[in-house]
């Protein structure tokens, strides 16, 4: 599963440098996650770092990108 930043985001800029896949960027209104690059930190960390550091709860599972841990690992390896 990729992750999604909702419109609750306060643009605090904390998550962007934490993403090991460089999947987070500053969108027009709020920060955004590129679902094609997001592995939920599989391959890097035990837990998604953006969710860990986000000071409010605005990062959820992307409803349109449901992927298994194995698929995320494949995605991670393809990006290396």
């Amino acid at each position: 599963m990729a992750l999604l930043i909702t419109n609750q985001c306060i643009n605090c800029d904390i998550c962007e440098p934490e993403c090991p896949n460089e999947a987070i960027s500053e969108g027009e209104e709020t920060c955004q996650i590129d679902p094609l690059r997001c592995t939920e930190c599989v391959g890097h960390y035990d837990r998604p770092q953006c969710i860990e550091v986000c000071p409010i709860e605005c990062i959820i599972t992307h409803p349109d990108f449901i992927e298994s841990p194995e698929a995320l690992m494949v995605k991670y390896q393809a990006m290396r």
Partner: protein, 379 residues
């Protein structure tokens, strides 16, 4: 010489160790004055002296000084000196690090809390005694401590979302001549990946920062991406450049009824709750009604004009809380200076209006300001 704000911003960013040292010194003084008399015990001459020093320092120097500083240099007090901010940030580094819930993040909450705290403390004349001061100011400090223990991780969740004083500081600081200016082009074209997030203890959207509203002026963001700089601007220019999306009806009501109404009434009629309410409603109602009339019933335009009242409201509050020893002439001149500042803003805010509406608004605005001034000077 002209760019000394940038030099100051850079100095503060580099020397956060000195800032922290100063914050600890202010916190130590605050604790000594607040808790010293309690621990020493009533009746002891040292406790009496500390109590008297606390009352003088808090209500004759600190509170008027902070109000004036907000209007001139923004929330510098909050970012560099405030003991509550120091405590809440420090303890949050070791606290539970919870994420603030949605109800805490309501924009109007600090202003509403300010109204409650101000009314309660002024009606009970808490400023007159050390115990009352401890109850009013100490309760807020305790709340800041508890918030830090539970929420945020090395951040100032309290200052951003709940601090009652910040409710009016966020209004007054829009007049200030200092602000952090963000060069969006430099920000957007900075080398990627960005090595570290922007350092903002209030978690502000620094990339889009145009307002002093929540900025604590701590300078930690200065120089980030080579795009953020502490700089000068014309006093009140932020108010003149507000977009429609930035004008908020609840804030306009807050300016009229809380900043101008309750702020002036509480300081002038302290000890009499009913008189405070009557006076606050009279000042607030007159302001809101006058602005509505000046805008010919256009609520959105009336709300926009209300921001022009901030300098007058701030100066009136500042004059009202000056210590009794200050000459009457000075106390009367200060709201007059506020009138000129607010009048100038109102004049420019209506510059683009159609001619007949413009002159009507200016006439009504002038009458409103003079009416408010006469009421305030007669109290």
């Amino acid at each position: 010489m002209r760019d000394w704000p940038a030099s100051l911003g850079e100095f503060l960013r580099r020397r956060q160790d000195l800032v922290r040292l100063t914050q600890v010194a202010v916190l130590a003084l605050y604790l000594l004055l607040m808790l010293g008399p309690v621990f020493i015990g009533p009746g002891n001459p040292l406790a009496e002296r500390l109590s008297a020093a606390a009352l003088t320092l808090f209500w004759s120097l600190w509170w008027p000084g902070v109000i004036l500083s907000m209007m001139l240099v923004g929330q510098v007090w909050c970012g560099l000196l405030c003991p509550d901010g120091t405590v809440t940030e420090a303890v949050s580094r070791h606290g539970r690090g919870l994420k603030p819930q949605a109800w805490m993040r309501r924009e109007w909450l600090p202003l509403a809390l300010f109204a409650v705290v101000t009314f309660a403390s002024d009606a009970a004349d808490a400023h007159a005694t050390h115990r009352g001061t401890l109850l009013a100011v100490g309760t807020i400090s305790l709340a800041a401590l508890v918030m830090g223990l539970f929420y945020g991780r090395g951040r100032r969740i309290w200052c951003r979302y709940l601090c009652p004083a910040a409710g009016i500081f966020s209004l007054l600081s829009r007049c200030a001549v200092l602000h952090f200016k963000v060069d969006r082009t430099a920000w957007d074209t900075a080398a990627k990946p960005v090595p570290k997030p922007v350092e903002c203890p209030l978690l502000l959207d620094v990339r889009r920062l145009v307002s002093n509203e929540k900025c604590n002026m701590c300078s930690r963001c200065h120089g980030h991406r080579d795009a953020v700089r502490l700089t000068f601007r014309w006093p009140g220019s932020e108010i003149l450049s507000m977009t429609d999306a930035e004008v908020r009806l609840w804030e306009a009501l807050g300016i009229c009824f809380i900043l101008l109404g309750l702020g002036s009434a509480g300081a002038r009629a302290h000890g009499d709750g009913l008189a405070i309410i009557r006076l606050a409603l009279a000042l607030g109602g007159l302001s809101a009604g006058g602005l509505w009339l000046a805008a010919l019933g256009n609520v959105r335009e009336a709300a926009r004009l209300s921001y022009g009242l901030i300098p007058f409201a701030g100066m009136s509050l500042f004059a009202a809380i000056l210590p009794p020893g200050v000459g009457r002439g000075i106390v009367q001149f200060i709201p007059l200076a506020g009138i000129l500042w607010s009048g100038g803003l109102g004049w420019r805010m209506t510059q683009a209006w159609p001619q007949n509406r413009r002159w009507l608004a200016r006439c009504v605005g002038t009458a409103l300001l003079l009416g408010l001034l006469s009421i305030i000077l007669s109290i």
